[in-house]
Symmetry: C2
Subunit: 432 residues, 2 copies
C-alpha cells in the first residue's frame, strides 16, 4: 500500500500536532507516542456505553455504528454477569481441567463444521492467524500465502506480513501474493485470480500453503456478493495442495445475518477458521478451529501454550455471547435491521449523486462514495461524511483501497428506531 | 533443544493415552487435540481459587506455588471489583480517549525508568515481545538476536524463533544466537558470553539488534545472582549498536522482593521492557515500554493497533494490581516470605542428599535436584518430587536445561503459615 493510500485510509484518524489543546489528548499522545491512533480530527473521550450507544465526557451520546467488538451490545448485562461471576471464583489456565472451558468449546464446535474438531483459544485474532498460518505450513510443507490487496489479518510480525493494509513502506515478502478485492464485477473470476496468484508464487519457488481470506473482505471495502464466489478460489487452492483459512474475525458470530459465519454464506467448508473481536463482546479472547491431523503436524515441530488463552473467564464470556445471540435472535435481527438499513441507504442513493455501490450482508455494510460528475472514488467526501456523522452523534469508519468506502458495522441488537436514527442523520449529512 | 530434553521438561505434564478414564480429561483431549498440555499424570479439575489456594472438584485444596499469573492472590477482591465495575460501564479500544487507560499508563510509567516514556498495551507477553523485537530491528536497522539456551519468550512465529525451550525439532534461525544460562559459576562471564554471541552472529552476516533476556532466567532454571551480572552483557550489546530488551513477564511486578522489576536488581536501565502474566492478575493484558524515538522508527514502516490492548477493563485491572502491591506491601512480603522459604529449603538441603543449589530472589526460587552419589542432575527424582507434592496438596513445576530444577513461584501474598505448610510437605516428600 502506498503512503498516499495509507494517509487516505487514516483520514478520520487524529494527527498529532493538530489538536493538543485538550489535556486528555495531550496525555494520551505522551503515553502512546507514535503508536497512538485516535479517531477523528477532534478525538472523543468516552465515559460509558450501553447497547448501541456510547456516552462522551461532555455528555453527548453517540450511536455506535462502527465497533464490531461489543457485537451483542455494549455492557451487555448477561456477559457482564458471566464475567463477574467467574472472575470471582476461578481464573486459571488450560493446564488444569475447568468445566466451563470445555462447555464453551463444545458450544462453539456445535456452530462449526464437524471436521474442525480441535479449538485452540488465544487472546487475539492476531495470535489466532499467526498460529493458523504456521499450522497450514506444517500441514502442507509449503510456504506461499495468498491474501487480498487491502487485507488486514493481524499485528504480529507474521500476520503483518500478510496484511497489505498495514504496510507503509515496502513490506511484501516473496512468499506472499496479493489478489484484487472481489468486486461485484470481478468476484466471478475469484478462482482464476487465485490460480494466477499460485502461478506467481510458483514462479518465485513457493508452493501455496494457504489462501487466507476474510469472507466479507472488510478492509478491502466490504465485498459480500454474489454468494458462493469464494468456492472456486478455495477449490483451486486445494487442488494445489493448499488450505483455506477463513478469517472470521470480522464476519463471524452472526454479523452477516444470513449465517453464523461468513464462509457459510459461500457454501464452503474451511480447513481452518480463525475468530476474534466479537467472540467475548470485548473480553479479550480469540481462537482457531482446525482439523486434528493439521494441528498434530504443527505440534510435532513446536510446542504451543497460551497463558491467557482459554482461561475460564474468557470461556464464561464467550458462552454468554453465544447464548445472547441465540436468546435474543441476533442473527435474525442482523438480517432484518441490516435489510432496513440497506434499503434506506438505497433510497437515499437515488436522490444523492455521491452515493455509489451499497454492498454487504446483515449489519456489515460498505457504501462507496464517488464524485457525482466522474463517478470516481472520493476520499475527501468520505472523510467529510464520517466527520459530519460524528457531529450528528453517529460513529462509522472508512475502508477500501481508495479509502472511499463507508464502513457501517453497528451492534447486532440495532433496533428499528436506531436504524431510522442513523438514516435521518445520514440524509442530513449527505444533503449538507 | 533435543526431543529428549523436551520430554524431561514435559515430565509433569499429562500424556494423552495414559489416563482417559476421566470423562472430563477425555473431553479436553477431544477439544484441544495435540495442543492439549495438562499438568500431572492424573490431571486436576479445578473449581475455585482464593489467595494462595486452589480447590479441585473432588474437594481437595492445593497450595498454588507455581502459577505466577494470579500474583497478588487468586480472585483478589480488589481486582475483581475493579474489573466488574469497569466492564459494566465501558469497554472499548484506544481509538477513543478513556481516562482510566491513561491513569493506568501514568501509574505504570511511575514504576519504570524515565527514558521509557511510551507504553503500548497488548493482550499477551508474546505480542509484547513480538513487537519489541520489531521495534529493536527498526531502531537499529540490524537483525541479530541473542537469547539464553533454554529461554522462553512467546508463542507467535517471531517469538517462538527466540524461544529455544519451545523448539522440538530444529528451529534455530540464522539470526539467533544462544548463550549459556548464567549459573553462579559462569554469571561473571556474562559479558564475554554476549560478546562471543555477537561475533558468531557477525560471522553469519548479522549485526546485533537486541539482547533479549528474562532477568530471572526462569525457564533456564532460575538464575538471579550475583546481582549486577547482567550489566556487562548489556554494555557489550550497546557498544555494538544493539538494544537490551528486559522481558519482565516472569520477574516483574515485585516478584523478586528486592525490586519492582527484575532488571532493577542488576542496576541496568533497559532500552525496552516487556511485561505480561501478573500484570492484570489473570485479566489478559501485557505491554511494552519503549523510548519514543525507537517506537517512532518502527511506526514509520508499519502501523500498529491492538484491538483489545489497552481496553479500559484491562487498565482497571492493572491499576488495581499496582494498588494492591503497594497497599498490602507485597514487594516486602515477597522478600520476607521468600527469605523464610529459602532458608527453610537450605536447612532441608543439609539433611537431604538430593537437594543441590537453591537459587532465586523473593518468591521465585529454583532448587536443583541431583543424584546424591554423583551430584548429577536427576530429572526422574524431580518429577517424583513434583508429583509427591501434588499428593501433599502443593503445586510446583520444573525448569532448566536438564528438567532437574524445581520451580517454586507462589503468590506474593504468601503467609508465614503457608511457607511452613510448604516446607512441611516438602520435607515429607524428599524424605519419602
Amino acid at each position: 500500500m502506498s503512503e498516499e493510500t495509507r494517509q487516505i485510509l487514516d483520514m478520520n484518524a487524529f494527527r498529532p500536532g493538530v489538536t493538543q489543546a485538550d489535556p486528555a489528548v495531550a496525555r494520551r499522545l505522551r503515553n502512546l507516542g507514535a503508536a497512538s491512533v485516535l479517531f477523528y480530527r477532534e478525538p472523543i473521550e468516552m465515559v460509558a456505553a450501553r447497547g448501541a450507544w456510547m456516552e462522551a465526557k461532555d455528555g453527548r451520546r453517540y450511536l455506535d455504528c462502527y465497533n464490531n467488538v461489543p457485537s451483542v451490545g455494549h455492557s451487555h448485562p448477561q456477559v457482564v454477569a458471566a464475567v463477574c461471576d467467574q472472575i470471582g471464583r476461578l481464573n486459571t489456565n488450560t493446564r488444569y481441567v475447568v468445566e466451563v472451558v470445555d462447555t464453551y468449546i463444545d458450544a462453539l464446535k456445535a456452530k462449526l463444521p464437524e471436521s474442525l474438531e480441535n479449538v485452540v483459544l488465544t487472546c487475539s485474532g492476531s495470535e489466532a492467524n499467526d498460529l493458523a498460518l504456521r499450522v497450514a505450513r506444517a500441514a502442507t510443507r509449503a510456504r506461499g500465502v495468498i491474501v487480498t490487496e487491502t487485507a488486514y489479518h493481524g499485528n504480529t510480525e507474521l500476520t503483518t506480513q500478510v496484511s497489505p493494509s498495514a504496510w507503509k513502506r515496502g513490506g511484501k515478502p516473496d512468499w506472499v501474493e496479493c489478489i484484487p478485492a472481489p468486486t461485484p464485477k470481478t468476484a466471478r473470476n475469484f478462482g482464476e485470480s487465485v490460480a494466477r496468484a499460485m502461478a506467481a508464487l510458483q514462479a518465485r519457488g513457493h508452493r501455496v500453503a494457504a489462501l487466507l481470506a476474510d469472507s466479507i473482505f472488510s478492509s478491502d471495502g466490504v465485498y459480500a456478493d454474489p454468494q458462493g464466489f469464494l468456492d472456486a478460489g478455495v477449490e483451486a487452492v486445494r487442488l494445489a495442495g493448499g488450505l483455506f483459512i477463513a478469517d472470521e474475525v470480522q464476519p463471524g458470530f452472526a454479523r452477516t445475518g444470513s449465517a453464523f459465519w461468513g464462509f457459510a454464506r459461500h457454501g464452503v467448508v474451511p480447513d481452518m477458521v480463525t475468530m476474534g473481536k466479537p467472540m467475548g463482546n470485548g473480553f479479550p479472547m480469540a481462537g482457531l478451529a482446525a482439523r486434528p491431523e493439521h494441528l498434530a503436524m504443527f505440534c510435532r515441530d513446536v510446542g504451543y501454550f497460551n497463558t491467557f488463552g482459554g482461561n475460564p473467564v474468557a470461556a464464561a464470556a464467550g458462552l454468554a455471547v453465544l447464548r445472547v445471540i441465540a436468546d435474543e435472535g441476533l442473527e435474525e435481527n442482523a438480517a432484518w435491521a441490516g435489510g432496513r438499513l440497506k434499503s434506506g441507504l438505497g433510497r437515499l442513493a437515488k436522490e444523492t449523486g455521491c452515493l455509489g455501490e451499497i454492498r454487504g450482508a446483515g449489519l456489515f455494510l460498505g457504501v462507496d462514495i464517488r464524485k457525482a460528475e466522474s463517478g470516481r472514488p472520493d476520499p475527501d467526501r468520505t472523510s467529510g461524511i464520517i466527520n459530519g456523522l460524528r457531529d450528528e452523534g453517529v460513529l462509522i469508519g472508512a475502508a477500501g483501497k481508495h479509502g472511499a468506502t463507508l464502513k457501517i458495522r453497528p451492534p447486532l441488537c440495532l433496533s428499528a428506531e436506531e436504524v431510522d436514527h442513523f438514516l435521518g442523520a445520514f440524509e442530513r449529512v449527505v444533503a449538507g
